[in-house]
Each structure stands twice: as structure tokens, then as C-alpha cells.
Amino acid sequence: MFQAYDHAESSSKTERQKWMALLARAPQPMLDLALTAHAEVQPQWLRRPETGLMMVQGRAGGTGERFNLGEVTVTRCALRLAQAADDAPVGVAYVLGRNHRQAHMAAVADALLQDPAQRADLEVTLLAPVRRHLLHQQAQRHARAQTTKVDFLTVAREAGDGEEGETS
């Protein structure tokens, strides 16, 4: 679902775009584990978690005409950390599904990552595990798809062999 995002010219994205893409896909248990200090604290809400629909657009082969693929359920929120100053960075999160808690924790992580002092820590405790988890998930999906793969070249060659056998 994020194929194009992960592979094509991802070097042109800003650091924040990269980690927000990771946080959007991070499962809630991993977020909870890395952010235990913020689990029980109510942040200063700018926009409480709210669930809505978004239209996903696609292009055939990534280059064709845009078309509406369908709607997805998205939960979003925006917050400042508890005890943060009025001009502190704003944490924003958009996640698929209806899990308000996941959106909340992803926004907390986004707010923390904007603080250079915390970034290195979180890179190790949160982003690296999430990256590993996503790679693992992708590898599993790839392996599952591979089992149903049909190699048409081989089929063609076998057919050719058969014909040769008949003529000889």
C-alpha cells in the first residue's frame, strides 16, 4: 500500500515525512511499549482523535490516469504534549482504521521526534523496531505470494519440448 512511497525517490522526502509514514503503520503495541512514559498522560488536544473516510486514488502501473480506488477509514488527531509550551511542536497522526489509541500514540511519537534531544533515543526504541516489523511483514507477504507464482516461461518451454518430441 505504501510501495511507491517506500521505493521511489524516497530520498526526496523530509525526515519528518519518513517517520510519519512509519508511525502511520506502526502497530499499537509497539507504540505503547516505546512510549510508556506518555501512556497515562492526557496531552493538550488540538484535535481529538476522529474517524472519517478518505478517498484513495490510484493509477494503473503508477503512470495511468487517476481513478478512485475506494474509500478507507482513517483516524487522525493533533496534539501538544502535556506540560509543553504554547509554541511547542505539534504532533500529528493519520492512521488507517478506527483505533483512536493508535492515532494518539503515533501523534505523541511525532511530537517527541521533533525534539532533537529525543530523536536519537526514539530512533532506537521505536523507529528501528517498526522498520524491522514492516520489513518482516513485507517478506512474509512476499513469500506467501511466491507460493502461487506461475512461471509462464517454463510452461512454454515444456510445450515446445513436447512438439519437438512429436516431430522426431
Binding site: 519528518r16 493538550q44 488536544w45 488540538l46 484535535r47 493533533a78 504554547d86 511542536p89 505539534v90 500529528v92
Partner: protein, 208 residues
């Protein structure tokens, strides 16, 4: 919206449903009783620019289907970002395209006739102006105030406003004459609003 824009953002209504309902109720009251200065409930965090009552009123009225025009003093301010973040409204640069107009105190008011007037079939599609003024008084003793007449006013009532352009009453007479088309106006100070629907007739003290 990028990080810098979000930097000074503040929260919206403390409780979205109750806050906006209270504002809407007050707005309805203001239009039902033209010329009466009403306390607007301010159950919301507020941006630094703009009058509190005007900001809260627009936060309650505007939504993602409405186009908003902001006077130059507000267009590049936190108030603009704040409204767009919380309501999802669109900004337009041409006042004649807007459903809602927010004019900051000290900024020039666009000619009322140049705004969206609605049509005879759909007079509700006209613009609503929120104009910030310096002060509003319903009880006028000195000269220079207005006398208001029309639906919602028993007999007549007085209103004294400071901070409107000198030719406002002339513009208003033309606006009233184009009924059922024409714009509706809210005048806002820091804490009060006054509604001036298009049905209201307005006389300066010399004419009365």
C-alpha cells in the same frame, strides 16, 4: 500545513458540540433581535489576532462547504490558520466568491454590493459578513447613533457603533432595498455581537 504554520495553533471549542451550539444559538438570537448586543459564549481557545467574539462566531458557523474571505490584517495571521485547521473551510482571495467575510478592525470593508447577493430563487446563498468594530451600545443618549426598525424590533431601537466606515448607512440602505437578496451582517466587539439582517432598516440620527 507545515510545521511553522502549526507552531502557534491553539485548540478549538472545549466541547465541539456544546460550544458550537451555544454560539449558533446566540447567532440566531442576534438575527432575531437586530440591534441587541448579546454576550457570545467564548468556550474556546482563541488565536492572538482578531476579536474573540468574531473568532468564536466564525468557528461555530463555518464548515468545510463554505468559502471564507479574510481582510488583509487577518489573512496571514494565526487566526486564519486556526479557522482552517478546525473547520476545514476554504480561503478565497476574491470577496465576491465568499460565503463568509471576516473584516478585522481597522481594515477596509469591501463594498456590501460587491459581495455575494444570492438570487431571487435562492436568497440564502448570499454572503454573511462578520465585521469587527470598536464598540457597540444599545442604549444611546448622545447624538450620532442609529435608529433601527424592522422585523424582530418592537417599534424601534437604538444602536451606537464605533469603527464602521462613514458611508455604511448608505451601503446598508442599498442592501436593504435589494431584499430578498442582500447580505447579513454581524458586528462584533471582543465579547458582544449584534446581528443586522437584511430586513432591518437603519436611520442615522439626522434622518430620523
Amino acid at each position: 500545513m507545515n510545521t511553522e504554520v502549526l507552531q502557534n495553533l491553539v485548540a478549538g471549542f472545549d466541547h465541539e458540540a456544546y460550544g458550537s451550539q451555544a454560539v449558533f444559538r446566540t447567532a440566531l438570537n442576534a438575527l432575531s433581535h437586530p440591534g441587541r448586543a448579546l454576550d457570545l459564549p467564548l468556550n474556546t481557545a482563541l488565536p492572538r489576532q482578531g476579536h474573540a467574539a468574531a473568532a468564536a462566531l466564525l468557528l461555530g458557523l463555518v464548515d468545510s462547504d463554505t468559502a471564507l474571505w479574510l481582510s488583509p490584517g487577518l489573512a496571514s495571521s494565526d487566526a486564519a490558520t486556526w479557522l482552517r485547521f478546525h473547520t476545514g473551510c476554504t480561503w478565497v482571495s476574491d470577496p465576491s466568491e465568499a460565503h463568509f467575510i471576516w473584516v478585522a478592525q481597522g481594515d477596509a470593508l469591501p463594498e456590501l454590493q460587491s459581495l455575494r447577493q444570492g438570487t431571487d430563487a435562492y436568497p440564502d446563498q448570499s454572503a454573511t459578513c462578520v465585521i469587527e468594530v470598536q464598540s457597540l451600545h444599545s442604549e444611546v443618549t448622545e447624538t450620532g447613533g442609529w435608529t433601527l426598525q424592522g422585523p424582530g424590533i418592537l417599534g424601534q431601537c437604538k444602536l451606537q457603533v464605533q469603527g464602521l466606515p462613514a458611508d455604511f448607512s448608505k451601503q446598508w440602505a442599498r442592501n436593504h432595498a435589494s431584499f430578498p437578496c442582500g447580505v447579513d451582517v454581524f458586528l462584533a466587539t471582543a465579547a458582544h455581537i449584534v446581528g443586522l439582517p437584511r430586513t432591518t432598516r437603519l436611520f442615522t440620527s439626522e434622518e430620523a
